[in-house]
Each structure stands twice: as C-alpha cells, then as structure tokens.
Symmetry: none
Subunit: 87 residues, 2 copies
DNA sequence: CTATATTTGTGCGTATGTATG
DNA sequence: ACATACATACGCACAAATATA
C-alpha cells in the first residue's frame, strides 16, 4: 500500500499537514537555502491533493518566511536569517 | 481605524449588505456596463467575509440581472436594458 | 523573434463539514 | 429544521512569467 504522508480525516487539515512535512524537511536540512521546493504539480502528486491545497501549504511557509516564490520559476528555501520570519 | 462597510450584527445579513453596496456603485455609475466587478477574492478582503458570502452577494445581483458571470473570468456589469432586471 | 514546455497567478464552479441563531 | 457564515477541498480554465530550443 502507498504510504499516505497525510491523513485527510485528521483534525489537522491536509494543507497544514503538508506545510508541517515541508517545514520539517527544511529544518532538517533536507532542503537547503536557495534550493527549490517541489513544484506545485509535484506536491499534488506526492500528497494526493488538489493544486489549491498544495498552494495553501506553500502559502503557510511563505507567511513564516521559510520560503519565497518566483512567478514562473518556483518556490525556494529562504535564508535562515531572512527578514519576514526571521529572528 | 478601518471603515467597516458592513455590520455583521445588523439585522440585514452581510451578503445582502454587500449586495446593496455593489448595487449602489453600479447605479451610481461607479461601475460601468461591461466592466468587471471586483473578484471574489477582492470582495472577501474588502468586506472581511468568506468567499461563500461574497458569492452570495454576487448571486443577488445576478438574479436581479444587474451583472453576469463568466466562469473562470469574472463577474461583469450588465447592460441597463438587459432582460431580467429590465426596463 | 517564434515556439513550446514548465511553473506560478488568477478566477470561477461546486461540495462538504462545522457552527450559530 | 432552516438560513447564514466560515473553512477547507477538489475541479477546470486561462493568463502571465520564465526558461529553453
């Protein structure tokens, strides 16, 4: 069976669960500053959600200053000392 | 302080208050025929309501024939002589 | 410059679940 | 039960930005 990284029936909504998974990967150093996150399309496939849901997850990370998005390119891991979330 | 255009505690429900505001803007000529209304997203931000509520307001105008909606594009001000609201 | 593919941005249609009066 | 409202989610379509051939 496929390992479902998220549980749609959990009290925590899928977009927050996805945000938590990605946040963990960033803080673990699995995704380094300057490196791109998976595209929205890849996130929808990996987590089995709609694009809107993947985008909501990315929006959470963006608000925390963990990542930044470049239109037409992708979303990238921010420097640990970036302004918004930063320190 | 921010001017709250609508009052959630008024007897008139928010979606009708929003409909009234938009109707006034159309009849005042603030929004001309053929021109797009604010998107649902913009309405949610402007009036501080959920998307469903903004949509309910637009539905009111649509029933009155004041506006028409094109899926994926937006909602537009109808011609003054349109059928539904007519004459 | 043109064409194409990829990715993000925007916008509407719809459905479900929850909460309140 | 019903109307209203919010939060979340899935789907679809097209536009804009970017990169590459």
């Amino acid at each position: 069976m496929a390992a479902s990284e998220i549980d749609p029936r959990a009290p925590e909504p899928p977009y927050r669960q996805i945000a938590a998974v990605l946040t963990a990967e960033i803080e673990r150093g699995d995704l380094l500053p300057g490196r791109p996150l998976p595209s929205e399309k890849e996130l929808t496939e990996r987590f089995g959600v709609a694009r809107n849901t993947a985008r909501s997850a990315l929006a959470v990370l963006r608000e925390r200053g963990l990542v930044f998005t470049v239109s037409g390119r992708g979303t990238y891991v921010a420097e640990p000392s970036e302004p918004a979330g930063g320190q």
